[in-house]
């Protein structure tokens, strides 16, 4: 240490300065820009889902927005404006001969299956409607489809495929809400109670067994839960309650509760464990019992976190597709009865997208529903992130 000191001389201001290295610089920039992509993806998702529903927003001539979108994809010559040309463009698969018999061979089957369920009742109403409404509708709607689409949004009928298509989002909204409420009413209490047990009462060894098992439920693909609900639960509950339609909102709700439980459980468990130990110790030192501490001290302290858990659970159920497709019966009926078939937003997209024609109103409406779903889940997540977490942190840091 105290020998020669040539080193000292090199410690000038210049040498202490960070050296510029190209590889360093590049790697940092590349890493940052890749991270930036994750923000870009969110924007892209919204833009492209919303873009496809744009034709709905141009009132008046329907052919115009179509050509506008085409020109974005550098193909004005091919698509042109001719409406006949739009049909084969179904988004591809139908035009290739090899694929046709194999893939879409199934469609007649699916159509037959879906139609009697979905449109059976509304068809009857159709017959009575024409007397009063059809003449008026025929003038305004059949010529300029986009015009009337908006007004049908607030009706209660979902009849996308007919001469006089109606896109009543109310029926779908009610259906989605029905399933969501049932699912959260089942999953919420169950998952929160289980989380309270694991974080407050269970011994460490039990905790280590319980947590991974419940989290294993999260690894169940939703299609498996849907399949189980459809094949086993539906029959079981029908035997118990004896209602008419085998697949209904209740079955869908129960099945979706299974999908929501692990989410609600994990997040509320985290929130409960994040409550400072001092709270628990103070409460116990004052002589409160364990249950009193859990329900009167820890649970209230973790309320914002549990609220966030419920919000994310709602988000999950609201957008769940496969379970809704398989277990809810898929009929857009409007009723308050939980034992009737419903059709949710996500299931509507999932089941009807394959049958629509590119650029058609029905196609745009489905994308519009998609944008609604995206906005909804985005808002839920934003609330859970900013409002709830900010509150939680404030609370623990003594306001």
């Amino acid at each position: 240490m105290n020998s020669q000191s040539p080193i000292k001389q090199t410690f000038t201001k210049e040498s202490l300065k960070k050296q510029f290295r190209l590889s360093e610089f590049l790697s940092e920039k590349i890493i940052t820009s890749v991270a930036f992509l994750s923000i870009a993806i969110i924007f892209l998702i919204f833009i492209f889902v919303f873009k496809e529903s744009l034709p709905l927003f141009s009132f008046g001539n329907k052919a115009k927005p179509n050509t506008e979108i085409q020109s974005n994809t550098d193909k004005p010559e091919t698509y042109g404006a001719a409406t006949e040309e739009l049909k084969p463009e179904t988004y591809g698969a139908t035009t290739t001969e090899e694929l046709k018999p194999e893939i879409y061979g199934s469609e007649p089957v699916s159509n037959e299956e879906l139609k009697p369920e979905t449109y059976g009742e509304s068809k009857k109403e159709d017959l009575s409607v024409p007397l009063a409404d059809e003449p008026m509708d025929a003038v305004s709607e059949n010529k300029e489809g986009a015009d009337n689409t908006w007004s049908t949004f607030f009706s209660t009928e979902w009849v996308p495929v007919s001469d006089n298509p109606r896109f009543g989002l109310i029926a779908l909204l009610i259906g989605t809400l029905k399933v969501t409420i049932i699912a959260i009413l089942i999953a919420g209490p169950l998952a929160i109670l289980a989380a309270v047990y694991t974080s407050c009462f269970a011994s460490n060894r039990r905790k280590e067994i319980i947590k991974p098992i419940i989290e294993m439920l999260a690894a169940f693909p939703s299609v498996v839960i849907g399949f189980f609900a459809m094949m086993v639960l539906a029959t079981f509950f029908q035997d118990v309650f004896g209602y008419d339609s085998r697949l209904n909102a209740f079955i869908g709700g129960v099945a979706m509760a299974l999908a929501a439980i692990p989410i609600i459980y994990t997040i509320s468990e985290d929130a409960l464990s994040a409550v400072p130990k001092t709270y628990t110790e103070a409460s116990l030192a004052l002589g409160a019992s364990k249950a009193q501490t859990a329900f009167k001290v820890i649970l209230p302290a973790a309320t914002p976190g549990i609220f966030a858990a419920l919000l994310l659970g709602v988000g999950r159920v609201f957008g769940e597709t496969m379970i809704a497709l398989m277990a809810t019966g898929n009929a857009a009926l409007l009723s308050a009865n939980p034992f009737e078939s419903v059709r949710t937003f996500a299931a509507t997209i999932g089941s009807e997208m394959a049958e629509t024609v590119f650029g058609e109103t029905h196609y745009s409406v489905l994308f519009f529903i998609g944008s609604l779903l995206f906005i909804f889940s985005f808002i839920l997540n934003a609330i859970a992130e900013f409002y709830v977490k900010g509150k939680l942190i404030k609370k623990f840091q003594g306001k």
């Binding site: 360093e24 790697s27 940092e28 590349i30 940052t32 890749v34 991270a35 930036f36 994750s38 969110i42 998702i45 492209f48 889902v49 496809e52 994809t73 550098d74 193909k75 988004y91 591809g92 698969a93 694929l99 194999e102 893939i103 109670l193 289980a194 694991t198 319980i210 419940i214 294993m216 439920l217 693909p221 939703s222 299609v223 498996v224 399949f227 094949m231 299974l258 004052l286 002589g287 409160a288 019992s289 364990k290 249950a291 009167k296 988000g315 609201f318 957008g319 597709t321 496969m322 398989m326 997209i349 997208m353 489905l366 998609g370 779903l373 995206f374 889940s377 985005f378 934003a382 992130e385």
Partner: protein, 314 residues
Amino acid sequence: MKKSKTLSENPFSKSKVKGDGIKEKAVVGLTQLAVILIIAILFIILGIIIYQGREKFSWEFISSFPTDGMTKGGIFPALIGTFILVIVMSIAAVPFGTITALYLTEYAHEKSKFAAAVRFSIRTLAVVPSIIFGLFGLGFFIQFIGTGMDSTFNGGELRWGQPNILWASLTMALLTLPVIIVSVEEALKTIPRELREASLALGATKWQTIRKVVLPGSISGIMTGTILAVSRGAGEVAPILFTGAAYYLATLPGSLSDQFMNLGYHVYIMSTQSSDVEKTMPIQFATTLVLLMLTLSLNLVAVVIRSRIRRKAK
């Protein structure tokens, strides 16, 4: 207030204490019941699927094509399709996710607004309904990029502008990205700061430290993330409904621009749109069993690796 009264040595409140004892037990019992109920449901599902699926489940079932309009035969093409899907998906998602995780743990400043935005969008990505990814795949990959590629390279001939493996895999990659990022981040955080500091003190640059010290140490975390993502990707159906999954194909997909069969989609199709649901019941249960075994065993492996990482960190 009430609590302190109950618990003081006041003899008048003794009866109250006793009542609380029962209440206490009831409350704890209630929460315990919730746990037991959830675990019971889980095992009932598993049990029924295993019980119903076991009779059809065999090597032959896994390794043969479906025949007779899917009422007989196996699930080989669906299995292969799922494998190709998750492999292409991992190739796209793992580097991307790892680099983003690296940014968040190594480069981002604690209070950087940009890092907060990245984090927020990753969380959003995790909660966006899976069907939205399907719509995005259709709108962006197929109709925007695919059609664009066709018109520039293929002279308008339809090749990429239609549902296929590539677009389905990329869609799935976006869906599983958060899973990978979170796992890798967790692994990066377990690498002790001393190691990084030692490396930097020896004169290594930041990038060298990351490449030679941090990344090798977090290899198991990257693996966990990949496995979890693969398990998620293998089970998810909604995003591929209209980005590439096919109802039935007589041959295996030969290139990235082919459609493919998928296990989850197969289960969905067989149970909802098959011509004879009752007759194919054993096949459906067996297919579900295969899918469930695939995802659960992958998850189990991930859990084991993860617990090892955690033990090492302690």
